[in-house]
Amino acid sequence: MIVDLQQFIERERSIWEELDKVLTRIENQPIPLMTLEEVQRLHYLYERTGAGLMKISTFAAEPNLVRSLESLLTRAYAELQTGSSRNDNLSLRRWLFRTFPQTFRRHCRFFWMALLLTILGAFFGGAAVIFDPDAKVAIAPFPNLLQNPAERVKEEESKTNPMLATSKSRFSAMLITNNTKISILALALGVTWGIGTLILLFYNGVVLGAVIFDYVRAGQSVFLMGWLLPHGVIEIPAILIAGQAGLLLGQALIGWNSKENLAQRLRSVTGSLVILISGAALLLIWAGLVEAFFSQYHEPTLPYPFKIVFGLFEFAALLTFLMFAGRKAVPKFSGI
């Protein structure tokens, strides 16, 4: 038996057109909200169109008609199966002071893992510089780090840097974009089951360790702290948070101790990944501004104790924010 296709189209056309109209209206809303009656009507239109598709697929398929109905059903299915609520409304304040720190704490075991890897890398880098001074050439990412620390400190403290005076904004922009690129890479390398992220974090630790051990050995600890702390206490945790996101992605791909399938695991972490990398990017903007406009000024322009205290204050503030922001107040026990 072949269905009377033309008559079928004439009969069902109004249903399909109504479904298309409803879907277009929903799709044009940034946060779709429907009443119960609207949802019920959408569900009816969806089921009726689905039944129509099954009918023509069984008895008489006209390819364009089938594709049109499949397209309608795909759109309707997406809207019906994906719920939304008023909580989807974006609030920057709530996101910054609740969502971001809460997400950080929920996945903090990956942060500790990232920190441990970086510390291991730092010890490796330090050991490499101590036992093989030539290793500095291979490790140091910037030419000015190849200098003898004492000579560099003398040079930095004696010169008035004309380049820095006229290009602070550009330098800051370059630092922000470069560090954000590294953070994105730390996250993206998570797709290699986290191995790429682990290597990147370890390498960052190696560079950091080599520089720290080199300056400490040369007796330039105060200069080093005054130079690194103001921006480093924000920049390094930001990279670690990006690494945390990368390791979280890696864990979702591997699926240790999880009964969910890959799609479910990825679906459950994508929100956290975006929150973590966005938080890291915000921190890097601050770090970039501090590095360009504050860290690069040394004694006698800015006294080191002031820079060190500023850095420690930032670190304490960041730690307090990440550990305590967004925690629900525990109600006091009032007794019976």
């Binding site: 009377d4 033309q6 598709l53 006209e62 364009n64 997406a78 797709v191 990825l266 994508t270 990944l273």
Partner: protein, 253 residues
Amino acid sequence: MRTNTLVILTPEGIRFTQRLAGPVTRFLAFAIDLAAITLVSGIFSQFLSLAAVVSPDFVLAARTICYFVVTVGYSMLLEWTWRGQTLGKRVLKIRVVDAEGFRLRPTQIVIRNLLRVIDLLPAFYAIGGVSCVLSPKYQRLGDIAANTIVIYTAPEKIPDLELLFSGTYNSLRSHAHLAAQLRKSISPDEARLALEAITRRAELEPNSRLDLFRQLAQHLRSIVSFPEDALEGMTDEQYVRNIVDLLYRPAPP
């Protein structure tokens, strides 16, 4: 198993498919997007250079930030506002959708675009291309992480069969008993094949068109045999069209 379609089976038992976009189409879309990014960055750069008189340092900083934001944000912004499409994807009629048919979420868009840095390595989308070729759903690494796929957008217009048969006289219609026998004997696949040949005949090469309709007419004649006087002067193509008319419009308006 590798397939070029995504099959979605809903809890209600409805089954529908989406045609997946292959690596070549996607690469062409990316090339268009790359040109658009270069153009937009260039326009911003020219616009910002007007401020060089006031502060050259600010202009260089703004250019650096602007280029970075446009490069990273272009695809995210367009895929969010155009529901899974960028300029390149619009031109090539493809769209990003959730791999399980759900609504595409902004977080998925962000993740698939951030992971592009890996897909682009070491050059010319090599890793992404290889992943796309090897993946059963043509997914690059960013798509795998975000659980997204790229599909061809289907035609939205409902076809009008009336146009196919308007203004034509069907001499087979006068043999109602044979038409009824035909509808009873023909299989859905045979009917579908004849209908598809009629709707797509304009796309065929002249020789292929003649050959196809000759074979189809020969096969259809073997199912039900209409009297010679009803077939007089009728070409193979006209015969197939009249058969389709009988099958799909049993009672014409």
